[in-house]
């Protein structure tokens, strides 16, 4: 039934439904504030998407995706911060023309590694390459030595902890615990007003669909099947002539780059970047989004991220101290009762009924989105 190298017919319908939901339904029904919240949530969907490839298909659980989210986010934020720190904007500082936090930390010249980030082209390349190469190094060091499973997960956590400590400790260069705030313009275009938020939202959705297509391509390639095969019988793949380590490194790098794009989108849409999105806790939350959406489902990752974040926002507004327990409980419930998350519920309970309805009546594709979101509720 594979119609082309990206999707088959039912997947195409799923992608179109998601597109209608994100491009039409949400912008038409939500105010700009809420839409910007969705934009923030969707930045995590990039991470969740990467985890589907790396964890869902490849079986490589990374509990340190915040590292790559952070690297991408900081690259973008450095560009925006430099632009916001023009001499005119910073003339009250003792050293005008450098970011404010550097001035507060008695740094008197722009550090060397900051300089290239005044170029947007360099920044975009860095958003992809810095996390990609970092993941390549970690992946090579781990997978060539056959480190996997729990050990790999723990090491990724350690990396997340190390990077957080590094960012917080080097506050003259990174903005420390406060992160990089007061980001204003992108090539002179103000990113803060409402209409800019709307444009950025659509830009982000566009990027998300590019990533979805890349994930779909990987999934439908032989590489996607090798990842599944490796997850099940690593030795069989190895003794069929494949270098298992190289495939793991590839999956890990894809996940890292997706996460980094999400991080860059975060800096653009939310207007700041801080170490609180880099460490262990956010990294684990990102894994939960994937688990709730269904770790084998590319589209499920997007719905799972949206659902958990909506729940987080509404619940933490009402019961701030209970939210973390709720999140933990949700994760346990999903793993125990619905190992394939929302996508599993959809495939096992909803789809068969819809198929039954379609065979007796004409299909109504728009209805799918609503029911998929509504049917998500029992997952909590």
């Amino acid at each position: 039934m594979t119609d082309n190298r990206f999707f088959n017919r039912s997947e195409l319908i799923g992608i179109l439904v998601l597109a209608v939901f994100l491009v039409l339904v949400l912008p038409l029904t939500l105010d700009v504030f809420r839409l910007n919240l969705v934009a923030k949530y969707l930045t995590y969907a990039f991470v969740a998407l990467g985890l589907v490839v790396c964890w869902g298909y490849g079986g490589i659980l990374s509990l340190g995706q915040g590292v790559f989210f952070g690297l991408g986010g900081y690259c973008m934020a450095m560009f925006l911060k430099l632009e916001a720190s023009s001499v005119a904007n910073t003339k009250i500082q003792s050293t005008p023309g450098i970011p404010d936090f550097m001035d507060w930390n008695q740094i008197t010249a722009l550090p060397l590694f900051w300089k290239p980030f005044s170029s947007l082209t360099f920044t975009i390349a860095a958003i992809i390459l810095v996390p990609g190469i970092f993941a390549l190094i970690i992946g090579t060091a781990m997978f060539k030595r056959r480190v996997g499973g729990t050990y790999f997960a723990i090491i990724t956590q350690a990396v997340a902890a190390i990077l957080t400590i590094l960012i917080v400790g080097q506050q003259g260069y990174t903005g420390g615990i406060n992160g990089m705030t007061d980001l204003r313009t992108l090539k002179g275009w103000d990113i803060r007003p409402d209409h800019a938020k709307i444009v950025l939202y659509f830009f982000e959705v566009g990027c998300l669909f590019v990533c979805i297509m890349i994930a779909q391509f990987v999934r439908h390639s032989k590489l996607g099947r090798i990842l599944v095969a490796m997850r099940e019988k690593e030795d069989r793949v190895r003794f069929s002539g494949y270098s298992v380590a190289n495939f793991k490194i590839f999956a890990f790098c894809v996940a890292a780059v997706f996460a980094a794009i999400g991080g860059a989108m975060f800096a653009l849409n939310v207007g700041f970047m801080s170490p609180s999105f880099v460490g262990i806790v956010p990294s684990i939350e990102m894994v939960i989004y994937t688990a709730v959406g269904g770790r084998l489902s590319i589209l499920g990752a997007v719905y799972g991220t949206l659902l958990v974040n909506f729940a987080k926002t509404s619940l933490s507004e009402t019961f701030p101290e209970l939210w973390l327990f709720g999140l933990g409980g949700l994760f346990i419930a999903v793993v125990l009762a619905f190992p394939n998350g929302l996508a599993g519920i959809w495939g096992d309970y909803v789809q068969p009924r819809i198929d039954g309805l379609i065979s007796s009546r004409k299909p109504k594709p728009e209805g799918w989105t609503d029911s998929s979101v509504a049917d998500g509720a029992p997952a909590e």
Binding site: V228, E232, D235, R236, F239, S240, G241, F247
Partner: protein, 251 residues
């Protein structure tokens, strides 16, 4: 006895092979030679080191000392996937197949093309692949089950599928670890028939306990005991060797 250059006509030459696990020598100073187009069966009591020998040849376990030459290439220094590329195929004791993939996809993954990351991304399922998969599926009696998920197969069918996955690689040396273990009588007969058909133009190294099956297929038998060769030769010779009767066949 033979140090240095071994005669070229051997497909596989194992010499002075030793592996020790924390001082325990699972394989101890083992030497044997396999000819082109030979079916060699390794028998021996549990713990004799049979599976370890296959592990050493295919690179799953690294030898402590000794050499394994395949077509003149030293395998002990190569990585597993490189050993596969030189033409060694290995079937594991328990059926080692991919449950979440279909029979077709299981076979396709073993098709020897697009084994690099980039090659796998750009791999296309063309006519050559499809024809070869169908051809092998017919050989392993799974022609009608190509689109079935592999976890729905019976135990015997899973064993055949893994044999098929090796066939599609077209190795020069095929190593099978207990291919008929756990099979029904009719499945055994079919497997023997299958093996007799696939051994053309290749050598096969088989570990098996089923003596009837061994008699059916073996050209030559090697009896292992405590990591060393106890006896070697034709089935008749081995069967009548008093040492073999004592440690293995007598029971």
């Amino acid at each position: 006895m033979l140090v240095g250059h071994q005669p070229k006509e051997f497909l596989l030459a194992v010499e002075a092979l030793t592996v020790s696990f924390d001082g325990f020598k699972a394989v101890n100073d083992l030497s044997f030679y396999v000819d082109e187009n030979e079916i060699r069966v390794i028998i021996g009591p549990n713990g004799a080191g049979k599976t370890t020998v296959l592990d050493l040849i295919c690179g799953k376990t690294k030898a402590t000392s000794g050499s394994i030459q395949f077509r003149g290439k030293e395998l002990t220094r190569m990585r597993e996937n490189e050993i596969v590329k030189t033409g060694v195929g290995r079937k594991f004791q328990n059926p080692s197949i991919y449950d979440d993939l279909t029979v077709f996809e299981n076979l396709e993954i073993s098709y020897p093309r697009g084994r690099s990351v980039f090659g796998a991304l750009t791999f296309t399922r063309d006519a050559a692949v499809r024809d070869r998969v169908h051809e092998v599926a017919e050989m392993i009696f799974l022609k009608d089950r190509l689109n079935v998920n592999a976890d729905l197969l019976s135990h015997g069918q899973k064993q055949w599928l893994e044999i098929g996955m090796l066939l599609i690689q077209d190795p020069d040396l095929l190593m099978l670890d207990e291919p008929v273990a756990g099979m029904s009588v009719s499945e055994r007969a079919k497997t023997a028939e299958l093996l007799n058909r696939i051994i053309k133009n290749r050598s096969v190294l088989v570990i098996e306990h089923d003596m009837k099956f061994v008699e059916d297929i073996a050209h030559k038998v090697t009896v292992l005991h405590q990591g060393q060769i106890l006896s070697e030769g034709t089935m008749d010779k081995v069967k009548n060797d008093p040492k073999v009767v004592e440690v293995y066949l007598g029971h």
